[in-house]
Subunit: 127 residues, 3 copies
């Protein structure tokens, strides 16, 4: 399970890095809390972080269920694809929000594979 732990920790650290970057944009552009708008760069970084959180809360439980029901090593590989997808998404969205779909799709596909495969494995284990 060390592989799954490492991939999970890396995904959590990636999200934390995005959160820190939101904070940096806040300072850089003088967007005072509790405001969540005021400068395009801040707003983009904030949406990147928020969207990554929406993915992360599905990805982490799906990864661990997959690791237990299917295969931890394959899970770690699919997890790395998710992390790469999120970096692609971050780079594209920050440059131009309209170009975000490729990175988004990589992450969502990785998570969907974990979810659907795990569900099939869990149902098969019961019948």
């Amino acid at each position: 399970m060390e592989y799954i732990a490492i991939v999970t920790l890396l995904a959590l650290m990636q999200f934390m890095m995005f959160s820190i970057q939101v904070g940096s944009m806040r300072v850089k552009h003088g967007v005072k809390a509790p405001a969540i708008s005021g400068h395009p760069e801040f707003e983009r970084m904030f949406r990147i972080q928020q969207n990554t959180m929406e993915q992360l809360v599905v990805f982490v439980p799906a990864l661990w269920i997959y690791a237990h029901l299917v295969n931890p090593l394959w899970g770690a590989g699919i997890g790395l694809v998710y992390i790469i997808g999120r970096f692609v998404y971050r780079a594209a969205y920050f440059k131009d929000p309209a170009s975000r779909s490729n990175g988004f799709t990589i992450g969502i596909l990785a998570t969907s594979v974990l979810l659907v495969w795990s569900l099939v494995a869990a149902v098969m284990a019961l019948i």
Copy 2:
């Protein structure tokens, strides 16, 4: 634990479905990223999804702790109540945000039962 895995996967898929519906509302009403307002239907679906995330991040850990400390089968049953509550919430909120309280209450009650019962079980196991 297969029952708990299945209920967790269904709750994650439900949230992912709500996320996809936020994306659809974005396209349908021409709300361009990174904007998170601009059309009532988009804003309602966005709040449904956000509120579901706020519930999900409590529900999933609470469900697994309950399954380990109390009873996985009962946990799965309470988990199904949570999922139904979230669908009721989604339907009511989207029609009229003011009518959201019933669905909200079902979900929050299910999660509260998991939390409080687990806490009692954990403390009892220590003393």
Copy 3:
């Protein structure tokens, strides 16, 4: 693992308490759903809750990985520091958002210790 379960449940309950307080501010200041702005007190409480969710989704998996790979009792101790940090953050932010950094730092340090120490432990277990 009972200690880790108890700390996790307390952190989840803390977040749920903050969520309920957002709802109370909504009612108190007449901020009708789906609006997420309209009164400074509501906006502050909303940002406190949102920021706590951003921390919670990293804290919970990091805590459990740490408990398995390093030490559950130390994990519980670090977890209590996180919870205290979030209460400090809540109190300061609600009074004056500009004073939020101390409470924020306590929580983020606790989570960072869990993340980095777990990563080191996981990598050491593999080599």
